[in-house]
Symmetry: D2
Subunit: 353 residues, 4 copies
């Protein structure tokens, strides 16, 4: 199941330390002029190398192999590769027979009887580069319809943004390395990451996302609810452990009278006075911004010795080398944004809008 | 999109106030002897009528139309109907032109240009009766493989269970009307519901679920991760607003060193010393219990006057009559359990286990 | 795999001798006023009982359970049942342990380890009643867009119609019991069937089908070609053994210069001077009528003794009683038409037309 | 819809004159050691350049980018590219505004509003190189289970092989350039092609295919019948205009008594005395060889002037240059074989065999 989507679909392949990642985007509407620099800019946001991120040096440039005529999409599938430029495969030789805790080493080995142990192989978060490239294309198709998607760090470790979805300024997201649209909070978040890293430890967090400009009617009843599509997309991201939308988990401890969104008519158009529903009612968008959050666990790779077992079931001590982020949040922001874009465009096409 | 699943698939149809709900279960393994009383028992758990639930009287008996030979599944599709016995359609006449806040009335009307206004029509939670029936079949196929699924109320309004997944006794779940496996907490939860109801208000909550006995290897890499399948299933349930698994949202504010699950070998078998991963690593089950939570918003139907608009955009006052639960949690417990069973059996068949 | 289609989808269940067949149609466009008499009329065309057909008496009336509001589709799934009124299950007791030649008895038994032996169980052509009901709905949605579908007998045994797709008058199809739009040929076809039947034998044939009024652009490139969708639909019909479109098998022995369809412009609109392409080029409709044929094998149930084996592998003599057609063609005509309608509406919706 | 299959799935991208074709094979079983020379050998069979084929020089070497560990499949997706080495894009400049008769130029232009006119762009049969590469992998997985697939030319223009499926020697298929397993007939077929080519004309034909070694039970009831899967696969191949299996179109003019396949028991195993069913009964394999045929139209590109219209609807004369086969049959043989392998492996995995 390396394909995601119904009408707009991405298919992904590639291991962390093979020659390249490969993606195929199917169902892209024809006639969209693509800004390839904007694609590269999104890739740069996911790319390792910030002060808080791994030292791995990937240029992560996207080589497109099909689907365009003079820079315009033709409706045919868009294939691309992203070279794995910076192999340090020898760093991983010690992991050939060792199962890293809270990684996929053991489950892949058990499921397939064989695995690429270098850098996590297929289970590496490097796969998300394909999603960011595909999402950058989807975002451009959506932008033509006035739809915009913002994602940002709203919590890192114990440091929370403390602002609602409607209270942030998206222009501030990229003003800092954690991608939090509040510079003071961002500094505290960065300090939290550095504190964990200084102890060889890691920290988790939450990414919030807002989709604006959606028409009414996106999302399919019952099993194809827009929130179900988004949840599936988000929970497929490495290290994601939770998803909620609108009032989310906070709503469960409230009264209905505090939470219902009264309908009002503005200039003859029905809208809601509040948005605890997160822009979705009965699985279908109601025209308000769609708002959701994704919780990420702390990175499982610690930069200190950890006891584990090898594939003979013997206890061994794991000393990780290589390059690892102390917190996935800053680099996962464009991944959440990309998966939101892919899901939204797919849902729009399904709804024939 | 009224079909859910890949190999084991359920297709559902029917409105709240039509003659019947209809379900078709496809992909049921052949040769499973079905205990039809156990199916009815699950239906009874979802059925309205408890002290805390709506007064609607549905027998909710399942009439099977195909798929069995002498009570044993044959591998052919299982069709069934659930009659809508207790129509009070006239209760809903006043809703023909009114959009109830935080319901799907407006979005269905906008998407389709037509809707069945009686009892929410297709968007009614009555549809979940089909899921419970299908889930009861799936649970029996899973039980043959030693897999069990428990769901229970872990929070209602401000009252939380305060016990981890591994600390509860499933035998206690049905000892009380809120389905919380702690009788003292259950009483406080029931009081919370009654308090809201006494004010014509409603309250939300959280359902927790544990799947035990799963083999290693269930779940597909990348976009078919087991947690993504579960999230999609759960977020398709009416009123669900959040999903998390394992450490979930709580993990995001912790350090990695607190959260990784060390591998240990027990009797030559690899297992983990803790289960913050919720039984899933890299999207694939690792043999530990799969644990997750689903957050539900407060019921949107208040038993007091609420201002809203009609389909001409004019302000009107909504006075709901009819039969409505002040809290979905008790009756949603078997729905969560059913969707977990459906998803698990599908994932098992996908994994060819 | 009891579901067919992508956006417009039918799911079917039910055995020949269970209480009822069940169908669920998903993806029906909202706002289509349904002529239920026209649905019944199509059911009557498939129903057994003509002079040339089995003596089984089924009323085959369709009971709709969901999906309509005041006779108009609402976009929600349409469930229906078709009761199996005329059980003669005891006729089949002798088949409990016998494999009928060229039937699915042996393969179902081998695949599932259990089967309903009464009347072929799930493998009975009775299942096609669901398709005809669903197809009748699809035909009404298509008719609103000016699309019409005709199917007719073009060969029965050695008697061929001898007219091309464009040379027939659809009004004549139902003037005779074999459903051939040429009364003289129809008489010879009927004689062929009677001749076979008089010897306890059966005969095969070909059904031709024409879809008119299709816009340009229906069908998806590469694996979703319109002819691939149609072929899959037709080859899923009981007893179908071949499919071709346009010039079909006859084209393979011709020169390209005889077969290419020259483009011409008529009133500023591009069209073709001939239609050897069968209305499809590169998998996509070109605006000309789509034309195809389906070959059916002779019915495998002979009304004379046939040697076979039982499920112990012992030779036994098969004496079939019960009710069986000597030729499927007349009753398969509405089935081909229905599957063409289902496929066409699905392809239209996929193409967002 | 550039993906084919359910569990074993191929996704394809790329135009005739872009930088490369790209394929991703998903669902390949883990643990299969791949003979990459055998993959190249299949590619060579499809490659242009035989005496009867186009002069285009493609090396058609497959560059694998993922999915292997030390030459063994890991269960992760296999991505590959096939470079388009030999561009003569300028040959096609004259076609930028011209619709070639019986090609997809007009339908792609109408559907998408834009197309790559160079060499047919996405609609070029060059896409089938991806299928052959993917099929070569599938064939190796099938061979491990004792399943073999043979395809061969059984008719070219007016020259028919005149032998049944069981009467041919697969060893002879590649002894001649038309891939007919009878050297005398092959010479007459080659003469037929040369005769057409000498007049700037083209010729069609039929490819027959046999799958041996299949277990009982492959294929899913009703809409997933094995013949429906094969028909969809075959009708997705460029220029294919017909499909039949077993007795096929010839069976439609026969009596049932001539066509039923009597069951017999051999060494305690049920088998059939004849194979008019083509190895499939009720959509499920019965253990006999699966046999089918695919009809191909004559190539639509004539090497002589042809009248047509341009995209302004004006009549123009088409003078094709470039490189074109006078008959697709010899090069389509490995394509039919590949699609049969892909479909068979997918059906095996669906059947959990």
């Amino acid at each position: 199941m390396n394909t995601f989507g119904n009408i707009f679909r991405i298919t992904s392949a590639g291991e962390s330390h093979g020659p390249a990642l490969t993606g195929i985007v199917d169902g892209m509407p024809a006639g969209v002029r693509i800004d390839f620099d904007a694609v590269e800019a999104q890739m740069a946001r996911r790319r390792p190398g910030g002060a808080l991120a791994t030292a791995r040096r990937e240029t992560d440039s996207v080589t497109f192999l099909s689907g365009f005529m003079d820079g315009v999409t033709t409706g045919t599938p868009i294939a691309f590769t992203i070279a794995n430029a910076d192999h340090h495969s020898q760093d991983y030789e010690s992991l050939r027979h060792t199962f890293r805790p809270s990684h996929a080493d053991y489950t892949y080995q058990a499921k397939y009887g064989i695995r690429d142990h270098r850098g996590g192989g297929r289970s590496s978060a490097r796969e998300t580069a394909v999603r960011v490239a595909a999402g950058a294309l989807a975002m451009q198709a959506l932008a033509q319809k006035g739809i915009k998607i913002y994602a940002y760090a709203s919590q890192i470790g114990g440091v929370a943004l403390g602002k609602g979805f409607g209270e942030i300024d998206p222009e501030l997201i990229d003003t800092n390395e954690v991608r939090c649209p509040d510079m003071a909070v961002a500094e505290r978040m960065a300090a939290e990451i550095r504190s964990a890293a200084s102890e060889g430890d890691t920290v988790g967090g939450i990414i919030s996302c807002v989709i604006t400009g959606l028409p009414v009617g996106v999302g399919e009843p019952i099993y194809g609810k827009f929130q179900a599509m988004l949840a599936s997309a988000m929970m497929s991201i490495n290290a994601a452990h939770g998803f909620d939308y609108g009032m989310g988990f906070d709503g469960c401890c409230c009264r209905g009278s505090q939470m219902i969104d009264p309908f009002i008519a503005e200039n003859g158009r029905v809208t809601t006075a509040s948005n605890n529903s997160g822009g979705i009612q009965g699985g279908i968008t109601n025209g308000a911004p769609v708002t959701f959050r994704v919780a990420f666990k702390p990175v499982a790779t610690l930069m200190r010795p950890v006891p584990t077992v090898n594939d003979d079931g013997e206890p061994v001590m794991l000393h990780v080398r290589g390059r690892h982020d102390p917190c996935v949040i800053p680099r996962a922001v464009p991944v959440v944004q990309a998966m939101a874009a892919i899901t939204t465009l797919d849902a729009m096409l399904l709804a024939r809008i």
